[in-house]
């Protein structure tokens, strides 16, 4: 068997490739010149991605690079960045500590600030890839070798897939959100000292950046109290000595999470100076103030409905996200990492402002559960529907917005197909995760009854 390079080399190689791609695209689109006018052009790479292949999908209003820059500029000049009612988390405003990221006016600081920006968006992705490998090693330690093909392919595919590259080039803040979330999961899997606090702090940070991640708290707590190893084949009730101890342990973890969350809230309030940022950031995911089209399901629905019904449907859509948590956590209590994975899929499909980063995270996570692959009922149609939607979405967005020959229905139809793919993937994952148990149970039965030639028919 050929010896694959180790995963740190893989990560380093992919990062270098990405930086080369970004730099060459940057040099091609905005050749360096000493003309003062060019510094006002904005970043041409971001514009190119946001008008081209990543139209509407690389960033949402909550993750847009232009919104980040605008809020940093406003904050730097003493104006309230949340005046418009929608904005990004105040923790990003702490970046105004580095003034070069706010203003690009002198030419030498332009180069420095560009280098700094590239660093700021590359490092989280490197960490994301490393966290993915950590999760993989924690899940299947017996079959893991440092130079096995999966350890090489996992970070490579994550870093070089279009779901990773487009948000990186568009400088969407979804890159940071993914890194933080993957860090939370990685530390929950990896039983290093003090791992629970690290994981909870990172999830608190992630929930601060985007409130939808709150639904990942229950499976994460189960993961912290359990183990990440693959227990799909052996379902058993979640028991940690006794039920009461389980609740007490979970309760203390929840309290710790709330403590970190309150600390971050206070820090955010300190940054901004008032409390209105909560309705602008968290309220934005809940109440949908911006109808900017995105690859999600909410915007079209809410543009079409009368205002009279808006509160009702907002409640419906939000509860739709919440209602999957309990059933999935109960059903997959023996394997909380799998529950987390399914909830990631639900989040990617049904949250209010999804972007390519969310879909990319869900797709990357599929690589961590190879034991379910034989039990998937329709992997190939799911993949084809996803491909169909992924290829048509930018095309229809382009037709609608740039060419003016299509209309919103084209784009929304391709989004619906994407949601169909997401739904198919989640349903298939649930099916396969439960199917393994039946298979294993069947094998157990077969082993017990050895005398008779009992053939357990398994359907695949």
């Amino acid at each position: 068997m050929q010896q694959w390079p180790s995963y740190p080399k893989a990560i380093g190689f992919c990062i270098v490739l990405r930086l080369l791609l970004a730099l060459s695209l940057d040099l091609y689109l905005s050749p360096p010149s000493l003309d003062a006018y060019s510094s006002h052009n904005g970043d041409k790479v971001v514009q190119f991605i946001n008008d081209g292949p990543g139209l509407l999908s690389a960033s949402s209003p909550l993750t847009l690079y232009a919104n980040l820059k605008e809020s940093l500029w406003l904050y730097h000049h003493g104006i309230d960045p949340y005046g418009s009612g929608i904005g990004q988390s105040p923790l990003y405003l702490a970046l105004s500590f580095f003034p070069s990221i706010v203003d690009h006016t002198p030419i030498n600081s332009q180069i420095l600030s560009k280098a700094f920006e590239y660093l700021l968006w590359t490092i989280p992705d490197a960490f994301s890839a490393w966290f993915l490998v950590k999760i993989w090693t924690a899940r299947a330690p017996s079959s893991f070798k440092s130079s096995s093909s999966i350890a090489f392919l996992l970070p490579t595919i994550y870093l070089l897939s279009p779901y990773g590259i487009l948000p990186f080039l568009a400088r969407s803040t979804g890159v940071w959100e993914n890194a933080v979330l993957l860090g939370a999961i990685a530390w929950a899997c990896d039983h290093a000292p003090n791992f629970k606090s690290k994981s909870l702090l990172l999830l608190a940070l992630r929930t601060h950046l985007s409130l939808d991640a709150f639904i990942l708290l229950p499976p994460l707590i189960l993961l912290l109290l359990g183990s990440p190893e693959s227990m799909l084949a052996e379902p058993r009730p979640f028991a940690l000595r006794a039920q009461f101890t389980v609740f007490r342990a979970a309760g203390s973890l929840v309290l710790e999470f709330m403590a970190y969350w309150s600390a971050l809230t206070l820090i955010s309030t300190l940054i901004v100076g008032h409390w209105r940022w909560m309705s602008a950031t968290w309220g934005a995911s809940l109440s949908l103030p911006s109808m900017t089209p995105n690859p999600g399901l909410w915007w079209y629905f809410f543009t079409e409905m009368f205002d009279h019904f808006r509160p009702f449907f907002l409640v419906v859509f939000n509860i739709h996200l919440l209602m999957y948590v309990a059933p999935i956590c109960i059903k997959f209590q023996h394997d909380p990492l799998y529950a987390l994975f399914i909830l990631l899929g639900i989040l990617a499909t049904f949250k209010s402002y999804p972007t390519l980063s969310d879909h990319g995270l869900f797709i990357a996570f599929w690589a961590i559960f190879p034991e379910v692959y034989p039990y998937l009922r329709h992997p190939f149609p799911t993949f084809l529907v996803l491909l169909h939607s992924a290829l048509l979405q930018p095309l229809f967005a382009h037709l609608w917005l740039s060419h003016g020959t299509g209309n919103a229905n084209f784009y929304y139809a391709s989004t619906l197909v994407g949601a169909c793919a997401g739904g198919m993937a989640v349903v298939d994952a649930v099916w396969a995760g439960l199917r393994i148990a039946i298979e294993k149970a069947g094998k157990d039965v077969k082993e017990v009854v050895e005398g008779e030639e009992m053939v357990v028919v398994t359907q695949q």
Binding site: G78, D80, A94, K198, Y260, I267, L270, V272
Partner: protein, 419 residues
């Protein structure tokens, strides 16, 4: 090699040698029709604009290329005996209001600011496409103003005035932004010729209804409606335009030589010195070269025509004549070039931000400032908030420090207990 590069460098100047923009063929037509008066007694100005609108539409410019600015208070005025209609002739033969007119700026939206912003394109993003002049460098624009005016000003809605200098500057901004190929400017007010006297951008042909010091008069009253229904100058221009259809080869000189001073009641003027193309020979009975002379013209020195001297040289340069359908014709090719407009607008946006910096206002203080309880910890809280307000950069620095401290505490393992 150097010689070759120098020759190539010279080639960059080749576009300067080419004929200027004005003689190049236009590809689309736009019309901006403005009635700057309101109230019932200015019914005739509404009828002027609506009559011109109907003519412009009949000759082929679609509603999407017409910006109609009216106060629009005549048709449904409670004094209107024929509600929902606006007529331009005493017999009420033709309802100009009809059922499918599109008024883009109505009522109190007809302001000087909106008019100038419409021309220059410096509108906020919230303005819809129907309210924008989406012209490009190959658009011919017909701009028609009517209302009450005076020497170098036009009164808008009885409230404010736009001066000839403002319009001239707006036209020059349009020229520099490549927002027109040629402009035909027609104005029907008192002392109208003063409105075009200040233009200085190339490619503009202008005509007005009366000289400085002279009034323009209404044409006819309708005794059932009770007010004057049309202005004299516009009436005769529209009457002439009825002879024009989409395929006419009638030149602008034919229009200008049709002016009949005894009938119109005032002395219309022309300005063509900024316009590069020849106006044409005119009516053979009273050709263009005799504009302003002959019977009916009583002004000394000939009827007012700025650019009479340069008219001869134009035909020598081989440009084709200006046809009426150049400005009133149908749309040949609509091409909205948004990227150029956006870059141009971005230039102006940044210049604005440098000229008028946003004042630095301190961030609002935290809402939990109370003056009631005299606990010992509160004075320190007050002073902390004051310090934070007076040093605005302290907030992110402090917050970043706290954030880093939190992460160091958790990740450094100081928080022991549960592992």
């Amino acid at each position: 090699m150097r010689l070759l590069s120098f020759a190539l460098f010279l080639l960059l100047y080749l576009p300067l040698l080419s004929p200027s923009n004005a003689s190049s063929q236009h590809t689309n037509n736009w019309a901006v029709l403005v009635c700057s008066s309101r109230y019932w007694f200015n019914y005739r100005h509404m009828a002027n604009a609506l009559g011109m609108y109907r003519t412009v539409k009949r000759l082929g410019i679609p509603d999407s290329n017409i910006i109609l600015m009216l106060a629009d208070d005549a048709a449904c005025n409670s004094r209107n005996k024929f509600p929902g209609s606006v007529y331009a002739n005493p017999g009420r033969h033709l309802d100009l209001y009809g059922e499918n007119i599109e008024v883009d700026y109505r009522g109190y939206e007809v302001t000087v600011e909106n008019f100038l912003r419409l021309l220059t394109g410096r509108l906020p993003d919230s303005f819809p496409r129907s309210k924008r002049l989406l012209t490009d460098s190959s658009s011919n624009i017909f701009i028609y103003l009517t209302g009450h005016g005076g020497n170098e000003f036009l009164k808008f809605q009885d409230n404010e005035e736009v001066s000839a200098h403002d319009i001239a500057d707006a036209f020059h901004q349009m020229y520099e932004g490549g927002r027109y190929n040629e402009i035909f400017f027609m104005v029907d007010t008192c002392q109208a010729n003063s409105m075009y006297s200040k233009f200085y951008s190339p490619g503009i042909l202008a005509t007005g209804s009366s000289v400085v010091g002279e009034n323009s008069y209404s044409h006819e009253n309708d005794y059932d409606i009770g007010v004057a229904v049309i202005d004299s100058y516009t009436h005769y221009v529209l009457e002439y335009m009825e002879k024009v259809n989409k395929t006419s080869r009638l030149t602008m000189a034919d229009l200008f030589t049709s002016y009949d001073v005894p009938k119109i009641g005032s002395h219309p003027g022309i300005r063509s010195d900024l316009f590069e193309r020849p106006l044409g020979p005119g009516n053979p009975d009273h050709p263009m070269s005799e504009y302003g002379w002959g019977k009916g013209w009583t002004v000394e020195g000939g009827g007012e025509w700025m650019g009479r001297e340069s008219e001869g040289g134009k035909s020598a340069r081989g440009f084709r004549e200006a046809l009426i359908t150049d400005f009133f014709g149908g749309v040949v090719d609509v091409d909205v070039n948004n990227e150029d407009n956006d870059e141009f607008l971005h230039l102006f946006e940044y210049e604005d931000s440098e000229c008028s910096p946003i004042p630095k206002t301190p961030l609002p203080p935290s809402s939990n400032k109370t003056h009631s309880s005299p606990a010992t910890s509160l004075p320190s809280l007050f002073s902390l908030l004051d310090v934070l307000d007076s040093y605005p950069s302290l907030r992110p620095h402090l917050a970043l420090t706290l954030l880093v401290a939190l992460f160091v505490i958790v990740f450094g393992g100081v928080l022991s207990g549960r592992s």
